[in-house]
């Protein structure tokens, strides 16, 4: 696809503003192509559908699909992998020797699972994720973009080069933030993918130490994307003080991804890449508009996940966004597996975050909720702290702040920040631990 004129608001106006009935029609066409393919070639889908007594010939419309198709979740995939000795958990649909790459999921919710990929053969029909989103932020060919990422998902920078931009490559590491500041001032990038609370705090420390003005560092950026987990209130405050326009980004059930647009009113999911449903939370009673997100791949024919339960709690809307895009939006709320119920109170990691980072020694916001079960007697927290702070005093201060924030007195284990940073990339240290 040729690049649109630089003054075009949208990268792909036809698709991004497609009327709802046409989106539905397109999804139905793609879905009815995908189902027989997945049933025939994905061992996991085949077994799941056989066990449910459903055959692709039973599915002639989206309505049939929603009514009859069985769900799949990550545990089913792991079980299939372990019981059958199939490293791909029954998801791979192409002969193994035709694969280009074997990547993996982040592993936030347990051991990473393998993602088989066939480059150039199983991707989206039209550029979608990242391309449409960064164009919408105002990033244009010839611009520099700062990429602050991992490598385990593969060479994401190719998508930015396809957009005609020039990536500047950084590790997702607080120690890279001095270089980030220097090169931002030198190359004046317009886009950043992606940031998190720990890195924002690290930028502040670098600017304090080196005398950079963070407003200047970020002055060229039209959009700064954060992902992996919600931005902490402290980090958001800092970024906003610096004049940074933040865009939230989130995965959609290992099937596709979502980004905020300039309206910052929900995250758009490109519905030509996935069919997304929202289902009632089984144990939530009246969950209101909080639902579990379920996604089905429409373009990934190499490892299509069909009716994949994400465990993500979201709110969604299919109303047209004020930005003019017609594709649905979601608002991430949390993960089903993250909540703990203490003394009748439901607590998610986000609920203790403000309290933890309000204590100076814990400003990085590194902590874990110890979750031995959904219902626990005590709220146990493992909290990271910096420097040579007085541990007893820090523990008391964090405890008092958490009590004010949640109404529950916590039990706190203090550990150095470095011990928590080792547990994973800082945007995604496991916020919940079993012990």
């Amino acid at each position: 696809m040729n690049l649109p004129p630089v003054d075009s608001v949208f990268y792909d106006t036809e698709y991004e503003t497609m009327p709802r009935d046409e989106i539905t029609q397109l999804q139905e066409e793609l879905l009815l192509e995908m189902i027989p393919h997945a049933y025939e070639h994905s061992a996991l889908v085949h077994e799941t559908w056989e066990n449910a007594g459903v055959h692709p010939r039973d599915i002639r419309s989206i309505d049939d699909f929603v009514e009859r198709a069985p769900f799949i979740d990550k545990n089913a995939l792991r079980r299939f992998r372990d019981e059958r000795g199939d490293p791909y958990g029954g998801t791979n649909t192409v002969p193994p020797d035709e694969l280009t790459a074997i990547m993996s999921t982040s592993g936030t919710t347990g051991d990473p699972t393998l993602v088989p990929e066939k480059w150039g053969g199983g991707g989206p029909r039209r550029p979608a994720i990242i391309t449409r989103d960064f164009w919408g932020m105002g990033v244009r060919p010839g611009d520099h973009v700062a990429l602050v990422l991992f490598t385990f998902r593969g060479p994401t920078y190719g998508l930015f080069q396809g957009l005609g931009t020039i990536p500047i490559l950084f590790d997702f590491d607080p120690d890279e933030m001095q270089r980030f500041c220097e090169l931002s001032l030198r190359y004046r990038p317009t886009g950043l993918y992606n940031f998190g609370s720990v890195l924002i705090n690290a930028v502040r420390e670098v600017c304090d130490a080196r005398g950079y003005d963070p407003r200047d560092v970020f002055s060229s950026y039209k959009g700064v994307v954060f992902a992996g987990e919600p931005l902490s209130p402290r980090a958001r405050r800092l970024a906003e003080e610096w004049g940074v326009e933040l865009y939230e980004h989130c995965g959609v059930g290992d099937v596709t991804a979502s980004f905020e647009c300039g309206e910052h009113d929900g995250l758009h999911i490109w519905e030509d890449t996935a069919f997304v449903e929202e289902i009632e939370l089984a144990d939530a009673g009246d969950g209101g508009d909080r639902k579990e997100l379920v996604a089905t791949a429409l373009v990934n024919r190499t490892a299509p996940l069909i009716r994949y339960r994400s465990d993500d709690i979201v709110r969604v809307s299919r109303d047209i966004c004020a930005c003019g895009r017609t594709h649905m939006r979601m608002w991430p709320i949390g993960r089903k597996g993250d909540e703990v119920v203490v003394q009748g109170k439901t607590i998610l990691p986000i609920d203790v975050w403000t309290a933890v980072e309000s204590v100076d020694a814990c400003a990085m916001g590194l902590f874990q909720v110890i979750r031995t079960g959904r219902e626990v007697d005590r709220l146990r927290l493992r909290v990271g702290y910096a420097g040579k702070a007085n541990e007893a005093s820090v523990r008391d201060d964090v405890g008092a702040a958490v009590l004010v924030e949640t109404g529950v007195e916590p039990e706190i284990e203090l550990v150095p920040n470095a011990a928590l940073l080792k547990l994973g990339p800082p945007h995604k240290i496991p916020r919940v631990a079993k012990s």
Binding site: F152, G154, Y157, F170, D171
Partner: protein, 211 residues
């Protein structure tokens, strides 16, 4: 030249930005394909790259080279926390080569209680960086030297052998105990006896580092 991106390389004073063109990346892909073929990585074989995004200028040609040669590739970060991913990959998938193993990954394997001999069992080519090479040898394995000499990738063609850079693209030499690198062909960034972070002895187009 058309800009490809801004990578980085390790100099004596730390990480230096490295402007890279599409033209040189294209040439480096060809070189990488040849190198991988010499390591036996070809159609039907698999290779796991352990690297950081800041090293993409050095690793992207290898990644595409693997793809062009019909091999399959996997990626993990070269960090302590990624040891779990490296161990998962080698447990589930049969690899011909694992390239770029760092001391940090070995620290992570130690923390997980995974013996190196188990994690890397049956892998013909283990490309290990300074610090990791010595630890793997001490564990009874036969790794090959793998080191980034500034912008140039150096991989040994046999256990015990020096790590080799592409002689058509790079000239390396010693300056005191430092390895310096000179680009033989046009690049977006000029390398002329540029000092790298690597300390060691240069033998032809090979390097034996000192730790």
């Amino acid at each position: 030249m058309t800009p490809w991106g801004v990578g980085s390389y390790e100099g004596p004073g730390g990480r230096e930005p490295w402007e890279i063109s599409h033209e040189e990346i294209q040439r480096d892909m060809g070189t990488a394909s040849k190198t991988l073929a010499e390591l036996g990585v070809g159609p039907g074989q698999r290779v796991l790259f352990c690297s950081m995004l800041s090293e993409a200028g050095q690793f992207w040609p290898l990644i595409v080279g693997a793809m062009l040669s019909g091999a399959q590739l996997s990626c993990a970060d070269a960090t302590e926390s990624e040891a779990v991913r490296v161990a998962m990959f080698t447990r589930l998938i049969e690899y011909r080569a694992v390239l770029g193993v760092t001391p940090a990954i070995l620290d992570g394997l130690d923390a997980l209680g995974h013996p190196y001999a188990d994690v890397f069992a049956g892998i013909e080519v283990i490309g290990a960086r300074p610090g990791a090479y010595e630890r793997l040898r001490a564990a009874g394995l036969s790794p090959r030297r793998f080191v980034l000499c500034g912008p140039a990738v150096a991989i040994a063609d046999a256990p015990d052998a020096p790590a080799l850079v592409s002689a058509s693209e790079w000239e390396i030499a010693g300056d005191g105990d430092r390895v310096v690198v000179t680009g033989r062909r046009e690049r977006a960034t000029t390398f002329e006896r540029t000092h790298t972070a690597v300390r060691g002895d240069v033998v032809g187009n090979g390097v034996v580092w000192r730790t």
